[in-house]
Symmetry: C2
Subunit: 205 residues, 2 copies
């Protein structure tokens, strides 16, 4: 008689990691497509294909799941930026600007924004979000220094500009989902590129 189910035989650590991973992925997806208010424990578990009991074995509260998702998003953001870093060249600034904009329009970033906005009025989330934010800023400075060939001091000033541009696109991304204005968006890329070029010109010379 054939074995009805070929048991995978995973270790407890593997099982744990698999389900927590599924839960975090589902949380990010829910935040992106349903928003913070509608990312209920039931929604997360439903999407992850896991019972609510399972969720509460690994996370003490719903907030803890969100925090875990925030950490994961930070990790992904950094990885994404690092992966794209080699294409950062001082003679292709528009590419950088468009890249930053594209980043702020991903589902992952939408989830991040949901958490950040919720963190404003939720002390528990605030601490977790602050940590991710700081590490992201630090890494961005490092990456800019490395790939644009700048000394640390100059890199920091360029990073301020990059972060500011990112802020601009972050906020733009929200309004774009509500009401798109292509001409305005195109103009904004042109403008940001120019600003970056001017800042670099001033700093490098």
């Amino acid at each position: 008689m054939p074995a009805p189910t070929p048991r995978p035989r995973r270790t407890q650590a593997e099982r744990r990691e698999a389900t927590t991973g599924k839960l975090v992925d589902a949380t990010i997806a829910c935040l992106a497509e349903r928003g913070y208010a509608n990312t209920s424990v039931a929604a997360i578990c439903g999407r992850a294909g896991v019972s609510q009991g399972a969720l509460f074995r690994h996370f003490a509260t719903r907030a803890d799941v969100i925090v875990a998702a925030a950490d994961e998003i930070t990790r992904r953001h950094l990885a994404q930026f690092t992966a794209a870093a080699p294409s950062l060249r001082a003679d292709a600034l528009e590419r950088i600007v468009v890249l930053v904009r594209a980043l702020t329009r991903t589902d992952t970033h939408a989830a991040w924004r949901e958490i950040m906005v919720a963190a404003r009025t939720d002390p528990d989330l605030r601490d977790a979000a602050a940590e991710g934010l700081q590490s992201f800023e630090r890494r961005l400075i490092d990456t800019a220094a490395q790939f644009l060939g700048l000394d640390p001091r100059t890199a920091e000033r360029v990073a301020v500009v990059l972060l500011s541009v990112m802020h601009m696109f972050d906020s733009e991304a929200v309004t774009v989902t509500v009401y798109a204005n292509e001409r305005l968006e195109r103009e904004r890329v042109r403008w940001a590129t120019q600003m970056l070029a001017r800042e670099l010109a001033v700093l490098v010379h």
Copy 2:
């Protein structure tokens, strides 16, 4: 014998307007200090000092109250900007930048942001938010034209910059509540002022 309660004797229209006004005010306050997810009907009514039955006499759904709040916020934003407009002068650009930043840090704007972010994943809110957004953009262009003494075409390009700066500060305002970085914020004002000056210089000549 003295009258135990000096009846105000208001008309129905006055009564109606008074309570809807209280409800909208309370909604804005709740959004600002508790966030979208925690702005429940109970919270709104509690703050307004009105029963839930009263709320549902004037608004069909919770979403309708939020929409009314969004409309009111748009009105206030425009009024605030128009009031500040006389201080917009081409030789005091930093003042403009600081003004825009201050606007994005008000409670009213925080409430607006809560609605905008929620609108991303809520079709009902989206339409209402889009309307407010468009009228605000239009008015900003007009105001800029009027007070900076620009022709319509130039004014529109300056407005793009102003709106972009506003976007930057909008997003910054969120992160600031999570983790403040004064040096970075100061640098950002300096940078935005410079950008605005450059843009004006290019356009006016």
